[in-house]
Amino acid sequence: MVFRIRLALSLLLLCQFISAQNDSINNLKEVYVSDKNLKKYSSTQSVLKLNDSVITKNEALLTDLLNFNSTLYFKEYGRGMLSTVSFRGTTSSQTAVIWNGININSQMNGSTDFNTISGSDYNSISVKAGGGSVIYGSGAIGGTVHLNNDMLFFNRFENNLKLDYGSFNTIGINYKTFISNKKWSAQIGFSKNSSTNDYKYLNRYTWRGEQRWNQNGQYDIITLNANVGYKINDNHILKLYSQTSNTDRNTSLITETDTKSKYVNGFNRNLLEYDGNFGKLKTNFKTAYIFENYQYFSNISSKNYTYGKTENLITKLDLDYALFKSTQINGIVDYSRTNGYGSGFGSHIREISSASLLVKQDIGSNWKNEFGIRKEFTDNYKSPLLFNFGSSYKFSDLYNLKVNISRNFRIPTYNDLYWETGGNPDLKPESSYQAEIGNVFTFRNITWTQNFYYIKINDMLQWVPGPSGLWSPQNQDKVNSYGTETIVNWKKSYGKNTFALNATYAYTISEDDQTKKQIFFVPFHKATGAVSYSRNKINAYYQVLYNGFVYTTADNNSDDVVKDFTISDIGIDYDFKFLDSSKLGFQVLNVFNKNYESLENRPMPGRNFNMYITLKF
């Protein structure tokens, strides 16, 4: 199945992020996207696409990229440390991370740590707001983050090398090679990001009067990628995606006397995909093997650790039938088998099958409807019937209205079900209803997206102490989240000068149904802004992030908050036009030297620097 991406069209329909520079992706004739349902079934929701040039402007790890360029809120346990997300006021396990169409949230804790992912390992990163469980399964409640490696079939041999060096011995090495012809397409990449991360805490001293600094915060993340596609002919394509990563990270101390601990985690993901085109009927068959593991050393001076591992086998068949010219139907069946074992939860096998039906209807070129339904079958929990319905109507070139309602869920994790002792095998999944209205205004060079949403989440899983003092997860709370998101993009060229502006703002109310209090670690306000200017070989930018205060306890006590902060980065790069492209760049991060925390008592660094060279040959 082939998608021809036309830049202009996709900008119009998907309110994609406009970059100051067009990278190679945008110039193509044909892109074989790895997750075709993302494109096909997202016309009634908001998708923010971040491409190469935006990825390069930000620090290597995904937290920084998404923090500065989307409405997502992150809770970071210090720079480079564990980083969890909250999307539309939901929990960290209610945002699903999707790698080339496959849900990769941890089977053990349900979430993804965004500081273990290096943005440059992907061709594009998309943030899709709103429910997506019908297509992406568990955790797609607040939204989904998509990491995609798309394939190109044309004659090329290209190498990209990016070297970073910054404050606190932060070193980034990123190499990618693209080798392709009309039959074969291969991308092989390697990335390594490390830092001693020993930054000083601004204006903080120990009781002895010594300057405090980030102790035991070192990290080292290595990822290998290999993606190969083979076009048997125009109608039959085989693709293999493979990725291996290891994150070796200490955990930064809050108090100098804390026991130094360390967390090592890694994954290996392999996905084999076949696309067949039989005229009206198209097939997509995926089989994936995903391995993840962690080792936690509660004391780095000891060799002892606790651990957990899961092996997950997924097979998925997606049949796409063009019923009429305007109407397409997808029937999807999948089967997933997870084998998990760990020091905390023993050994358990979990099997889940599901069947779903998706319908897409285009009435003329301005009215699009989507409908989907999914049911899971498993012995582990009672699964709700999931659905979504969406409609997008383009009233004029100026205004596009989108409406979407869906039912989504998040299944209990291995820790929730099997933790020894306390795990509760009788848990239900968390489930949610969601309704949203999206408005996209396009006027000359400005795209303005204004979303309004309401999410009702039932059966929230929470670990609570029982009558005998034993902690155990229960389905207890109900949460209502509602708010609005604003995404503005503007781009204009005056002769050789190109200006671009991108801004986002999220207003989020997420409250406990019973107490009517704001869920802790959900900010009411978050805003980002980026301005860039380019002329000939020079490209300069400024980006800013405002993060409103968050409560740190459920009772919304005004003493227990993480204060709001505003931080800014500036950067400039110059292309020497040596080889195909050779940029030398310089960045100042937290340029105003703000003393801020993402979590209480975990100070973030003050002003710091990064320089990089990017070579294309």
């Binding site: 108090t255 006397t257 509660s298 002892n304 459920a554 009772d555 227990d560």
Partner: protein, 344 residues
Amino acid sequence: MKFSKLLLIALSISLFVSCSSDDDDTSKGAYDNGFFILNEGSQSLGTISFSSNDLNSFTKNVYEKENGTDAVGGYLQNIFFSGDRAYIIAGGSNVINVVNRYTFKLIAKIDSGLVAPRYGVVKDGKAYVINAGEYSYQNPATGDTDDYIAVINLSNNTVESKVALNSTANRVIEENGKLYITDAYNDKLLIYNIASKALETPVTIGFDGDSIEEEDGVLFILRRPYGGAGEIVKVKISDKSISRIALPASIGQAGFMDIEDDKVYYTASNSVYSFSTNATTAPTTALFASDASYVYGFAVKDNHIYIADAKFTADSKAFIYNLSGVLQKELTTGAGSNGFYFND
């Protein structure tokens, strides 16, 4: 201004000053004549609250109020006193904060030689602090045998020696120069003789031994097995003989125990029970049922019963009752309230 007026002002000032210095003689600081509530918090940060004995004045976060951004540490476990000083044990951060018990100003930190410190007592200028070391889930080989007593010289706040216990250990009391140590994860009462610096033969009391108190030469130990009936074990110090008082299974999970005015008070589920120290059987009916949903700290002092109702992602509550169970005061404390320490 007339001289007489000046004189009047001078007189009234001197009166005022002498009055306030009189006050200083009776009150040694803002936190005299009251009690601290320890809130264990997270692994990295806990808090301490204070209430006056008349329950009229309350400070939610005393340590932060007096010491600014200095981190007191996490999993606050215990406070013990010596002279003008209070020692706050932060088990999650391997540190003991030494503060003035009346002003709560930080004096020093004992920050080396401690591994997961738990409870401490003072005898003759030295503190004896139980260290849990590593736990068996962290270190299967030595987790159950690496606990020790840190002997701390309080004149220079350093750990001067360690006594290996070759066991797990948790709570400790001192009586006549001996330390009596309990822990839920072993079945022994450990005994350490401070003068001879030697461990004596332990007394087998059964697993799940926790709260320990001494009264008239007898040790009272509350055993609180998970999901099973509790028991109060009495050990006569003179001959180490044991007698047992079974708690009815019907009263639920046993919690904490304290002794006041020849009465043993203890909690089971969220209720408070009591019997005389010379009783041989336990009652089946409660003194009263508390308002707490998760009893995590308990004390009885001067006709009041103190109960901590712990929450961990929100503020906890402290309920103060009279001996017949009438609520006198409800206080909003910090996360994970686990104990009451009386400062007078």
